[in-house]
């Protein structure tokens, strides 16, 4: 049904604006290199040869928050570092997404003391939580794919 069957091989596809925009956003998300602790090493492993993250469009970790749209908080967030992370989050332009990778930034993890913020969701709103200490590279990829599903289902409610 629709115009596509009639057009044959002329090179048109029809879709909604939402799907097109979301598809573009999910396929070219640039992460910010904000690895804090041990989970950062697993994030680097995911970036490298065996569990390549570039096939998801995340070729390089951008060093500057102004040029990135995904903040992967990888590692434990201390009280000294929390204002810094908030500042990084504020500097990122919309639309921005946050993945809390690992146990320490999801819920405080193994640390339950004066120095660690129990969960980075006290500092910024989080889209996807990934459990594990540290999560395997496959777990991080699964988290990224979950974020992709979330992005695909987002309604466009702002002209941004």
């Amino acid at each position: 049904m629709g115009i596509e069957q009639k057009l044959g091989n002329l090179g048109f596809i029809t879709t909604t604006l939402e799907q097109a925009v979301n598809w573009a956003r999910k396929r070219s998300m640039w992460p910010l290199a904000s690895g804090l602790a041990c989970c950062a090493i697993e994030m680097m492993s995911t970036q490298c040869a065996d569990y390549d993250m570039s096939r998801f469009g995340m070729e390089i970790m951008r060093p500057s928050p102004r040029q990135s749209d995904l903040l992967i908080v990888a590692g434990r967030v201390t009280r000294k570092m929390a204002p810094v992370l908030r500042r990084l989050y504020d500097q990122m332009p919309d639309p921005k997404y946050v993945i809390a990778m690992g146990d320490c930034c999801s819920c405080g993890g193994i640390f339950n003391n004066y120095a660690i913020v129990p969960g980075v969701d006290e500092v910024m709103p989080v889209d996807v939580y990934i459990a594990g200490c540290p999560p395997r590279p496959e777990a991080l990829l699964h988290g990224i794919m979950t974020l992709h599903d979330k992005v695909m289902n987002t309604k466009l409610d702002r002209w941004a």
């Binding site: 602790a37 680097m44 201390t78 004066y114 540290p134």
Partner: protein, 410 residues
């Protein structure tokens, strides 16, 4: 605001900068906690005259996790799990330091099989840590392909750790008295397959960097430090050996049977970044030698001490022996008690001397556990190494010191 204000006149840090900063003649630059090349959350405040570094002030503590205080609230075997997270590239090495200190404090024996396996896995961990170092060091100097090669080799080592303990990084495999469980049967073949290909790969890495004029230009003469300064400033590990002091605790105060292995300790005398690179590459080769010897002489026998006051019995014994059930119950509810007294046990981690100071007080929880971590002490030498160099050399110097911020801040 976190940390010192960058307006030098208003802050209380004016004693750290030179007088030219107060007039604005030199520039204060913040190399912040989020930086692609500071190897973690390290903040450095630089005073620059153009491109030349006048003063360099490291500001640490962004990863301070209160591990030492948290350990005082846990029993000894629970506290062991937290040691993996300190120097997260040398998990088994941290476990080893803690276990050796604990075994010395309570007087626990370790069977020979466990000692050989400990040496084997600690050396594999050293190789994996140096691989991460090499990959990130070369990546900072814009040779990004090295990162991909080194992490490819590291995956092989992480496969071995996963085979042995079920976890890639935070294994907690060394327990007081020996190991957590015995080695699986595929262990020997996997390690031998790794040992067959790895020396060729190290030759590949050397072929890419050692005589590469770009690399040599960026690292020769950069961050040089003399042997006496290095000792005074508390440097240990490869930076100290690259400055000419042959201090290696595996040879000087051997632990866990290191005196029975035949290996050399590479020493260079130039003390700069290039020398540290050469020393670490050679250390990787020597570690391969140690792993081979350990694999050849792996004895049979128990993998953990049979002192039931400290080591829980295997589950198969619980159905047959009443004492085993009582020991199991006491150990898992109360934990074993350590005597009053303190020990200090230094071991050689890939970064330097890792010392575990442990004080017991007669209860099941430690009174004080302190880790003398190598990266904390090595980072103190950063200002002395970097003054007079250009800003672009700062990255090379930091990465040659190999700080791991979990180790620095604990």
């Amino acid at each position: 605001m976190y940390g010192p204000e960058l307006d030098v006149g208003k802050s209380n840090l004016s004693h750290l900068f030179s007088e030219r900063a107060l007039t604005g003649e030199t520039m204060i630059l913040n190399m912040g906690p989020q930086h692609p090349s500071t190897h973690g959350v390290l903040r450095i405040v630089l005073e620059l005259d153009g491109e030349e570094i006048i003063t360099c002030i490291p500001d640490i503590g962004f990863l301070h996790s209160g591990i030492e205080k948290n350990m005082e609230a846990k029993r000894y075997e629970q506290a062991l799990v937290m040691t993996d997270r300190m120097d997260y590239l040398n998990n088994l090495g941290n476990n080893l330091a803690f276990c050796l200190a604990l075994e010395k404090l309570v007087g626990l024996d370790v069977p020979p099989r466990a000692q050989v396996v400990r040496v084997l896995l600690a050396e594999l961990q050293r190789i994996s840590s140096h691989l991460v170092w090499l990959g990130t060091h070369a990546n900072d100097l814009a040779a990004m392909s090295m990162l991909l090669y080194c992490f490819r080799e590291r995956e092989l080592i992480l496969d071995i750790f996963e085979l042995v303990s079920g976890q890639r990084m935070m294994t907690s495999y060394f327990r007081p008295g020996g190991l957590w469980r015995d080695l699986p049967p595929e262990f020997e073949d996997t390690v031998r397959a790794f040992l067959k290909i790895f020396p060729g790969r190290v030759d590949e890495y050397e072929g890419l960097l050692t005589h590469n004029p770009l690399y040599v230009e960026r690292t020769k003469g950069i961050g040089a430090i003399s042997a006496e300064d290095a000792l005074n400033l508390g440097l240990t590990g490869p930076p100290l050996r690259a400055a000419g002091v042959p201090l290696d605790l595996r040879k000087m105060r051997p632990y866990s049977g290191y005196e029975t292995y035949d290996f050399d300790v590479p020493v260079d005398d130039r003390g700069d970044t290039y020398a540290r690179y050469i020393v670490r590459i050679e250390e990787m080769r020597q570690s391969v030698r140690i792993v081979e010897q350990a694999l050849d002489k792996l004895p049979d026998g128990p993998f953990r001490s049979s002192n039931r006051k400290f080591v829980p019995p295997p589950r198969s014994e619980l159905g047959r022996s009443m004492e085993a059930v009582i020991h199991h119950f006491k150990l898992w509810t109360e934990g074993f008690k350590a005597p009053k007294g303190s020990v200090y046990m230094p071991v050689e981690s890939p970064r330097g001397i890792l010392g575990c100071f442990m004080e017991g007080d007669g209860t099941a929880k430690p009174l004080r556990v302190h880790f003398r971590t190598p990266s904390f002490a090595n980072l103190q030498a950063l200002p002395a190494m970097s003054e007079g160099h250009l800003v672009a050399d700062m990255v090379a110097i930091i990465s040659s010191l190999d700080p791991v911020l979990g180790d620095v801040d604990r």
